[in-house]
């Protein structure tokens, strides 16, 4: 009895995502451990983009899609985070109009319907940072691809490399999209800053 207990599966902390995903092909229920690792982070990211109403469903759907595609996961990549954010990006894209509507409302009225979905401090929001309205207008003006790159870096803390993996685009494209997106952000904020600084934050 003890021998079998001693030979139990390695603890979650000791197993990288790729190993876990590979094992889950044969033992599906193991995939739930991936949910425990990333669902909360992913939820907060989707929450910031789409609001509370959508976040739960988008996160649930992301993991179901990931689960169904797990046998195609590239096990050479130990971290599954970019993969999950990539799937989520596609799903967020389906709610593009909801996302853009909120940016427009924030840009025009100073009230952010997305932030309202988790907070009832409307008064506080109105008097919050003056930069929010122009930022929202700028976010709305971005192409979908540029917005994904910018927000995966700013809100999800992905590295350039991870963004490239997540969206399935070359690293050079990540840089050019980010550059373009940040120019618009800077213009929206009044362009007071010196030349763009490299913000490469490689977490890998």
């Amino acid at each position: 009895m003890f021998a079998s207990i001693g030979n139990a599966a390695p603890s979650a902390a000791a197993t990288d995502d790729a190993t876990l995903i590979a094992r889950s092909v044969a033992e599906p229920e193991i995939f739930a451990q991936l949910y425990d690792r990333y669902a909360a982070d992913l939820h907060r990211y989707v929450l910031r983009r789409l609001g509370a109403e959508m976040a739960e469903d988008v996160v649930g759907e992301t993991f179901l899609i990931a689960f169904r595609q797990r046998d195609r996961y590239d096990t050479g990549r130990p971290h599954a985070r970019p993969w999950l954010y990539g799937i989520a990006a596609n799903l967020i894209g389906k709610h593009r109009r909801t996302e853009l509507r909120a940016y427009r409302a924030l840009a025009r009225t100073g009230v952010d319907p997305v932030a309202e979905s988790w907070s009832d401090r409307v008064d506080g929001q109105v008097t919050a940072a003056a930069s929010r309205a122009p930022l929202a207008a700028a976010l709305r003006s971005l192409s979908d691809g540029d917005r994904h790159v910018l927000l995966l870096i700013a809100w999800a803390d992905l590295s350039y490399d991870e963004v490239a993996t997540a969206l399935g685009i070359p690293l050079g494209t990540v840089r050019s999209r980010l550059n373009r997106a940040r120019k618009k952000m800077r213009a929206a904020l009044g362009d007071n800053n010196p030349a763009l600084t490299s913000e490469e934050t490689d977490h890998g």
């Binding site: 079998s4 599906p28 949910y35 669902a39 993991f63 940072a129 930069s131 910018l150 809100w155």
Partner: protein, 410 residues
């Protein structure tokens, strides 16, 4: 301000999801996993053959429920069913998921020098916190001072472990407990039979359905139990001092029969919950099998109205009811007895995300009033020293939310 910094501040007050908000997604994932394994997508089927081990009948039940549709339940934390997505959740699916979690998250067999930390709350008229550390070999038992200050590390009191003098009580010696459970069968049917008949594992006892004279109190006068010396840290000087305390009366009551009376299914259910509560560290395979054994017991229901336990946590809840017949001396007719039927409803609380066992509440309804009792755990861990929690940090006192124990509309 740098543009990225400004952007990072936008909506940066977004909160991290609470457990309940993520529960539905995890449930759907687990249902998909179980469904795939049973219906046999190519990789899962192939592996099942390779592994050569049969999945539990409980898993089959999960799939059947997922396919044919069971009770539609909105999990705690979700607001009804906004997207029109209802998960068919049944007692069988919930217990099957709990079994999977139990098997995947083992607590280690403690060594003689380690301590089993068990942070539990006991409620009847009110709730009291009962954190305790029992040494692996069962030699010592450490509890904090009676009224620890919330947020503060308490003064610890070290006591001899309570033991039952006359029979093999497995509950207070963690290694012995673990080893005893390790020898149990992992086939759910065999396990249910064993824990319902082996006196070491039978913790609940039916009341004989016949009149009997009133039971005399065990200690009719004076202090119950016997005196023992314990070491206590003086809160002012910090020094260890010796104090005499009186052990409470024997645990469990000395009237416990050597050969237990047969348990009804309802009592079997109650007994397994008591085992889970009182033996927190047991082998994961047996723990999983206990959930599968619970699934074999008829008459249980999934509670549709989310219930909160004594810690205020919304829980996935399964209920079972039983009637117990007793006899009371009839005041109006001396020497005669009258029959009293008491209705028990026991709620099993599970973590809505992981389905980990949290505890249970029993409502005792004697026709005149409903009295609630609850035993719920906050944490269980194997730690290196008393007074610490998992990870080695100090345990600190805490406050419990208001508790009335009786759920809103049932």
């Amino acid at each position: 301000m740098d543009d990225l910094t400004a952007l990072r501040e936008l909506r940066s007050d977004a909160p991290t999801a609470e457990t309940g908000q993520l529960a539905r997604g995890r449930w759907k994932l687990m249902a998909a996993a179980v469904s795939e394994e049973e219906s046999g997508s190519a990789p899962a089927r192939q592996n099942r053959l390779l592994r050569g081990r049969l999945r539990s009948t409980a898993l089959a039940a999960v799939t059947a429920a997922a396919v044919t549709g069971g009770v539609l339940v909105a999990l705690p934390g979700s607001s009804g069913d906004p997207g029109g997505i209802g998960e068919p959740q049944t007692v069988a699916t919930v217990l099957a998921a709990a079994a999977i979690t139990a098997e995947e998250s083992p607590l280690p067999r403690p060594t003689a020098d380690q301590w089993v930390f068990h942070d539990v709350v006991a409620c009847d008229a009110g709730c009291g916190i009962n954190p305790q550390w029992v040494k692996g070999d069962g030699s010592l038992w450490v509890v904090p001072e009676k009224t620890p200050v919330p947020g503060k590390k308490p003064v610890l009191e070290q006591r001899p472990t309570p033991r039952h003098a006359t029979f093999d009580d497995i509950r207070f010696e963690p290694i012995k407990t673990y080893d005893a459970f390790a020898q149990l069968p992992t086939d759910p049917k065999a396990l249910l039979k064993k824990v319902s008949t082996d006196p070491r594992f039978v913790l609940v006892h039916p009341i004989p359905d016949q009149p009997r004279p009133p039971v005399l109190p065990i200690a009719p006068s004076g202090r119950p139990g016997k005196p023992v010396k314990i070491e206590v840290r003086d809160p002012r000087t910090g020094k260890l001092v010796t104090r005499t305390v009186w052990t409470s009366r024997s645990v469990p009551p000395a009237s416990r029969p050597v050969t237990p009376a047969p348990l009804t299914p309802e009592l079997q259910y109650q007994n397994i919950l008591a085992l889970m509560q009182q033996a927190p560290v047991i082998p994961p395979k047996v723990n999983a099998a206990l959930f599968k054994a619970l699934a074999l017991i008829p008459g249980t229901k999934l509670v549709k109205t989310p219930m909160k336990d004594a810690f205020g946590r919304p829980s996935t809840t399964i209920s079972a009811t039983r009637d117990s017949t007793g006899w009371l001396p009839d005041r109006n007719s001396p020497g005669k007895f009258k029959k009293v039927v008491t209705h028990f409803t026991t709620y099993l609380f599970l973590d809505p995300r992981t389905y980990v066992f949290r505890g249970y509440r029993t409502l005792i309804d004697d026709g005149r009033s409903i009295v609630p009792e609850e035993r719920t755990r906050k944490a269980t861990a194997v730690v290196d020293s008393p007074g610490t929690v998992e990870g080695g940090a100090d345990w600190v006192g805490y406050k419990l939310p208001k508790w009335d124990g009786i759920p809103a509309p049932r």
